[in-house]
């Protein structure tokens, strides 16, 4: 009977010691935005993201940041206009804070769900229940991919235009983040 009590007390504890507990660092990350205009479809990519995370008894939190000026669309003038539109002079960084992590069941989950708070162009916007696909999952590493459905209006950004025609309000940002423990 005492053995049963011990086992009952120990099982929840071992179930709580998830692989996620500990400190995490972003070993590589890229963010890619997509802009649509009747005359152009443009993508701008940055591989300059840095991030840290931590998981403990109170949950997990991850913070990823990337300099706005690190995005490269292949055209210098277009990049400069983008800096102006998103007020890069005043707010040089984009920050993405991920909390409320929910991991799918099984030893290698296919998907995770997070609440993402994006700080961009001087505004904070929450994206609850954002689903990220698991590209790779190991004991001490995870590669996650997903899309932040950004909207220019949500961040009070005036849509740039070409020949008086503005770009579309929706500017999805694709995330490709590889995390390593330790």
């Amino acid at each position: 009977m005492l053995r049963s009590v011990l086992a009952l007390l120990l099982v929840p504890a071992t179930a709580l010691s998830l692989d996620l507990t500990g400190k995490w660092g972003l070993s590589s990350g890229s963010l890619t935005y997509r802009v649509t205009h009747p005359l152009h479809k443009v993508t701008g990519k940055s591989a300059a993201a840095k991030g840290k995370g931590a998981c403990g008894a109170k949950g997990c939190e991850f913070l990823v940041a990337v300099p706005v000026k690190s995005f490269d669309s292949g055209d210098g003038n277009r990049d400069a206009h983008m800096w102006e539109a998103v007020k890069a002079g005043l707010h040089p960084m984009i920050q993405v804070r991920l909390t409320g992590l929910k991991v799918g069941k099984g030893p290698t989950p296919q998907e995770v769900e997070v609440d993402a708070e994006v700080e961009f162009a001087g505004k904070k916007v929450l994206f609850p229940g954002l689903k990220l696909q698991v590209a790779e999952w190991g004991k001490a590493s995870a590669r996650l991919r997903g899309t932040l459905p950004l909207s220019l209006k949500a961040f009070d950004i005036k849509a740039p235009s070409l020949l008086t025609v503005p770009i579309q309000d929706k500017v999805p940002v694709e995330l490709d983040l590889t995390w390593r423990k330790g």
């Binding site: 009590v5 005359l39 008894a57 960084m93």
Partner: protein, 180 residues
Amino acid sequence: MKGLRVALAGALWVLGTLPSYGGDARLALSLDDLGFSKEETRSDPQLQKDLEVRSDMLRIHQTLGLINCVPMVATYTMGLINAGAADPDTDLHMGLGLTTATLYATTACFSVFAPKPKGLKSKGNSELHQVLAVVHGAFMIATPILGGLARQEESLETLHLASATGLVTSYLTAMAVMTF
């Protein structure tokens, strides 16, 4: 009883060794934790001002550049008509040419004098546009000079036409690379 105490002690020990973040009640990562330099994270109001002035000036440059297509093409067309005419209207052609040159110079100023913020790299279609600007700039200088000389020396008319053709072609191409 002794066994129960051992079990409870064991359970408490296991629970106590579970990792927790920082010992704080609240998780609180900040930008300073990520390792960016101060230069990368620092706000620069002067940069923002330069970017806004640059955008405004380039918008005017674009508008004037588009408007300038009209007198430029009209001048060129007039020149082609004059070339085949028995009684060419060179005064009108010259007047249109002068209008083109004046608008051209004004358009160019808005581009040349627009601020160039730190970190701005010339590449892509914008770079091609700038290269073409040098080409049509040279033609813009040569064409009226040759036109003036052709009024005294008819043999220079062909060169004037060739220069004008080069001007219109490179100018319209410079516009196209920024549009498509």
